[in-house]
Each structure stands twice: as structure tokens, then as C-alpha cells.
């Protein structure tokens, strides 16, 4: 579904990604954990074409992305992968329902009549069917993030990238959002989740990658990575995460 090979990304002299390779199978949930500054978010942004990279290749379904992407392949790529941001980035000038409908209307060229039932169903699925006409600013952070998930789902992406979806939320709101993601996982939605919530990663992911200093340091099933980490980096990180 998603395959990344030898991705290299530099900001001037600073090396952010040093040859990252990983793949995500259809229907698989993959979690990426690791210390801040390890390149996790940058990797997601590259997969979505929001950041350029210097070397390597990304393939999502039938779309290949090189270091010199053209506008058309970027757009086709983005139609195949949705993104949920740490800061939600809902459109403040639109209602909750319009936020979810605008993607299908503009990108899939659906008529309002067709887009509306789908948007309503998605909002019901994330538990917000009574907030259809609210403005984003009137919602709590957890509610906004659930709208953002519905918005990403509305354009029917093949995979969804989550960039620390619960980091800006308090524990209660975070668990609301995690419940929604777990529900998607049970429906075989392909997802790549960058997170600092270890127990959530353990619960929802089939594969866990530990990223540090721009490389994938260790990979494995949640049991392998959390119970029997092979590397010092992983051990230190998990120790710190526990005490934090």
C-alpha cells in the first residue's frame, strides 16, 4: 500500500531523514514512536507531499513520488492519503458539516445533495451528529480532532496519516479520539500513526517502528518492541516515556 525506500531529507546542513525505508500493508495499522526531533513528523509530511525530499522514493498505491514531483502526481498522491494534524486545522469559516463536505464537493466534484448524507454519516460515526451546524471554534479540542478525522475520511483516501493526533489534547479528550481511531482500525482502515501515547500505540498497531536521528532504529510487533527492545535507544526512550 505504502512503500518508502531510502528516503533522505535535509534542511540545509541539517540531516532530518537519513535513508528511511518502511512499508505499510493494506488494512495494516503502523505506529511510529521515538524521541522528538527523530524525523517522525517530517516522514509523514513527505508521504503526503507537503515536504520535498532529496533522495529516495515513495510509492502509495499506484502513485510514485520522486524528489522532483510534478503537480499532478502530488495531487493524485494526496487523494490517496489523508492527513490528520496535531493542531486539527479545521476551516474556521465553515460549519462542521461544511468542513466535512468541502473535500468531496471540490475534489470529488460531488453535488451537495450527494455529499451531505455521506458527511452526516461520517460525523455520526465520530459521535458528532448533534454538532453539524456548529462552528469549529465552538467545539472542544477532542471534538475538533474528530471532525478532522471525518473530513479526512470524506474524500475516501486509501490510507490516513496521523501526525500526533492527541498531543494537543487532555487525557479525557485524547481517549475520545483514540476510540475513534481504534474503531477505524477494526474496520481495516490503513493507517500510519505518529504518536507519543505508548499504550495507545501498543493497543492499536500491528507494527511499531522506533525512529531516532533520522533512521528507523528498530521495528517489530508491539510485543517485541515494548517487551523486549533490542537497542539501547529504544530502551532509553521507553524508560523516559514511562516516567514522563
Amino acid at each position: 500500500m505504502i512503500s518508502i525506500s531510502n528516503l533522505v531529507k535535509r534542511h540545509g546542513p541539517l540531516s532530518v531523514l537519513n535513508g528511511v525505508s518502511m512499508s505499510v500493508q493494506r488494512g495494516e495499522v503502523v505506529a511510529i514512536i521515538g524521541p522528538s526531533g527523530g524525523g517522525k513528523s517530517t516522514l509523514l509530511r513527505c508521504i503526503n507531499g507537503l515536504e520535498r525530499f532529496q533522495a529516495g522514493e515513495i510509492q502509495v498505491a499506484d502513485v510514485k513520488l520522486s524528489s522532483q514531483p510534478d503537480g499532478e502526481s502530488l495531487r493524485r498522491l494526496r487523494q490517496r492519503v489523508g492527513m490528520v494534524f496535531q493542531q486539527f486545522h479545521l476551516f474556521p469559516h465553515l460549519s462542521v458539516l461544511q468542513n466535512v463536505m468541502i473535500g468531496p464537493r471540490i475534489v470529488l466534484k460531488q453535488r451537495t445533495d450527494d455529499a451531505e448524507p455521506l458527511a452526516k454519516a461520517l460525523l455520526e460515526r465520530v459521535g458528532l451528529k448533534d454538532k453539524l451546524h456548529a462552528r469549529p471554534e465552538q467545539l472542544s479540542g477532542g471534538q475538533q480532532q474528530r471532525v478532522a478525522i471525518a473530513r479526512a475520511l470524506a474524500v475516501k483516501p486509501e490510507a490516513i496519516l496521523f501526525d500526533e493526533p492527541t498531543s494537543a489534547l487532555d487525557p479525557h479528550m485524547a481517549s475520545e479520539v483514540q476510540a475513534v481511531i481504534a474503531d477505524l482500525a477494526s474496520q481495516q482502515q490503513t493507517m500510519l500513526v505518529v504518536t507519543h501515547a505508548m499504550s495507545f500505540a501498543r493497543q492499536v498497531a500491528r507494527t511499531v517502528h522506533v525512529m531516532a536521528e533520522g533512521v528507523v532504529a528498530e521495528s517489530g510487533s508491539p510485543e517485541e518492541v515494548f517487551e523486549a527492545p533490542k537497542l539501547d535507544v529504544t530502551r532509553r526512550f521507553l524508560q523516559l516515556a514511562k516516567t514522563a
Binding site: N48, G49, L50, G71, R75, R78, Q79, V81, G82, M83, F85, Q87, H89, L90, F91, P92, H93, I102, G103, I106, V107, R135, E137, R151, A152, V155
Partner: protein
Amino acid sequence: MNTWCRSLLFAFLLSTTSAARADTLDDIRQRGTIRWGGDKEGGGPYVYEDPNNPQKLIGFEVELMDRLAERLGVKAEFRQAQWDTLPELLKRRPDQIDIIVNGYELTSQHLQHGMIATLPYYVYELQLIARKDDTALRAWEDLGKRRPDGSKPRVGVLAGTAAEKYISERFGNAVELRAYNGTTDSLLEVATKKIEATVTDTPPAAFYKDRHRELSVVGAPVGRGYYVIYARAGDERLRDELDRAILQITRSGELRQIDERYGIWNDGQAFFRAQESPREQTAEADEGSAAAPTGWAATWKNMPLLVKGALVTVELTLLSMPMAMLIGLFVALGRLYGPAPLRLLLTAYVEVLRGTPLLLQLYVIFFLLPLLGVNLPPVAAGVMGLAINYSAYEAEIYRAGVLAIPVGQMEAALSLGFTRRQALRHIIVPQAFRLVLPPVTNDFIALFKDTAVCSVITIVELTKQYSITANTTGAYLQVAAIAALLYLAMSYPLALMTRRLEKRTPPINA
């Protein structure tokens, strides 16, 4: 009631201040200079900058004033002012000028409105000037006929002069009258075929005949009149001193020498200067009605003209602002997202238009584009100038508005599969719109008032009409009050409308 009391009080204060300053002659002697007001824009042969030494002013009125000042034992000092505002300047700002010397004609209107006149220093007549090759315009009567293409002849005059009055009284609706701020402007317009003819006083006709060899005088001169010096009412002592000096330089032949130097001496001058006291003779020359209304009566009478001026102001605003906003939007988006050469070009566009005065831009569009074969009618040129000028400001406002939208908004839209253009149209611009509403409203009102600048390209909008009406009626305060009220009545609803629009669009806390 209260306002009437206040305007009465104001009038009283004005009269006392002028009474207190009544003795301008003493002030002049004490100061050692006599300050005379004129407009260099009117050009030769009156007062103009020496082409060989632009620092120096020359002209027959400059030399006249040097001689007269000499007789008064003082020095002459020229003060620049826009020609049609000179009477107001004389009356309202005694601290600026003592007298007006600038081809001002002896009229009963001026005498009724707080000014007194000296003896004439020149007798002029009106001359019709057209292109030599214009076979459809060979006599004054031709102005009453349609052009070969069926249109009315377009005739240029200096605004507020006897020529303007003469043409509108004699030919009325048969011609399309255009009022200019300078004689040279209308001559150039005839030469560039934007108008068919101009009517000027004899001095500029004689003076400029060499500069425009493609033009020639048509028919015999008409409408004799007298150039006089105007002083403030109450300054009779100054007037008498000036009269004495004028008679002295007339008799000594100095005045004739000056006229001859500027090529404007003719037999008419000899005739009236032979008279011992031409004041009686000149008084009957002006047959203006003595019972012309003044004050509020005159203001009400001119109300239709003022409203018409206001409508022109509205027309200019409503046509130019949407254009400015549209051009500005594209310039802003081009500067933000366009390729590098386009960005550079648009940056230059913005800087040039912001960095040069609107007045100059209007001049270029109206007076210089014809040299490239582009002849825009006045209103079109005005709308174009305003739209282009303001588009630069709008572009900067929109650019700031778009930059104020968080980057995450664009990224969220792109991640849904929007193209950049779709993201701008549906996500960024609608949010920026709300942000820029207050500054754009501000510019809307500013543009609305800037339409006044269009008077330099012969458009008579509200401010110009104020100037004309105030000068012909002398009801400066009343006409100014009405003009101000008309402006306010137009701009305030606009402010209310945008406030409502702002309330309807929800705020953004992204």
C-alpha cells in the same frame, strides 16, 4: 436655529478680522513687499517660469507688478495658488496675498463679493482657435453646427473665465464644453485632436501661436473685457495707490513696452489708454446682472449643479473601486504564488504606483497617452487612473490578509487533494476577505474623496463644482457646508454597510 446663530457669529468674526486688517497698504509698506497671487499653471504670457532659467518667473504681469511695486516703494513678491481659488485665497487668507494679478476680468460678480478692482491694465478679447486643417470650423458660427460625423463640437476653455461664460451663453447645448485649469492644456488638446477648438483671451493666443503652428485663429475676436487687479474690499487706499501707479506707467509708455516685449500690444490697448479715466468706460463693459442672488439663496439655486457633481463623484468611485479590488486581488496572488519574473514585475507595479502621486498618474493617462494614440474621454481616464492607483494599495492589503492565514489552512486543503488554486479560492481567500474588510473599507472611502483629484483632467465632480459655485456666487461657507454634507451623506452609508457585512461574517480564531 443654533446653526444659524453660529454661522452668523462666524460671519461676524470674519468681518471683524478683515476690518482689523483693513489697512493692507500699511502692512505692505512695513513689510517692504507687496504679495500678489497668481497661477503659474495658466502659463504665458501672464506669469510663467523662464524656459531658459526655470528658477526665474517672467511674464507681462511679473514686469507689471515690478513697476507698480517700484512706484509704491516696495518689492513685488509672487505667490502661487490655483487660479480659480484666488478670490477665496484673497478674502479668506489675508496672511497669504494682498492682491490678485492674473488675467482676472472685471466682473460685477467679483465686485459684489468682497473685492474691489483697480483700473484695467490690459484690454482683451476672446479668440477662437482651431486646427488649420479643420475645414468644418472656419467661423464662430460653425460652433453652432454639428461636426461632419454628427457629434457636437468640443470646445475647451479655461475654467471660470469669461470665455466659458461666453460660449455657454452663446452656444449653450450646441457644443460640448470642457473646462481646463490651464490655457496650455486646452491648446494641446486641440493640437492632439481631443477637442475641436478652444476659446482664449488674446494674450495667450498671440503668445502661443509659434508653439502650435498647426493651429490658427478663426474669425474675428469678440467679447472685449478688462484685466484688473483685485484687492480686498476695505483696501481702498491700496487700490488708489495702485490706480495712480497704473496711470503713471501707462502715460510713461512703460506698460506699452512690457506688452510689446510679450507680443501682446495691439490697437485696442492704445484706444483705452488714451482715456484719462477709463473706470467709467470699463464699468459699463460688464453687463452682469446686479441682482444676482447671494448666500443661501445662491447656494440653493446651485443645488442641482452640486448634486450633479456628487453623482459624478459616485460614478467615479463605483466604477473604479471594484476594478481596483479585482486588479489588486490578481496582483496580490501573483506576488504570493506566481513565478519569479512575474513576482518581480508585480512588485515593480506596486512600488511605482504607490510611489508616485495620483495627480501625476492622471496627467500621464489624460495628457500623455494621446501622444501614443490613446484618447480616453475624461471619465474613463479618471476611472482608469483611480483603479490602477488603488489596485496597488489593495494588492498589498490582500497580500497581508493572505499571509495572516495560518499555513496549516493551506496544508489541510492540499492534504484533502485540493489544487493550490482551489485551496486559495475556497479556503484562503474567503478567510482573508474578512480580515481585509476594514482596511478595504478605509480605502473605499479614501478613493471616494480622492476622486476630487480628477478635476485636473476637466472632470467636474463635487469638489470642483464647489470651487466653481463658491467663486461665482461668493457663498463660500454655505457651498462648502453643502458639499461637506453631500460627501458625508455618501460615505457614511458605505461605512454602515461594511460594518453590517463584518458582523455577518463570523470572526476567525484559527
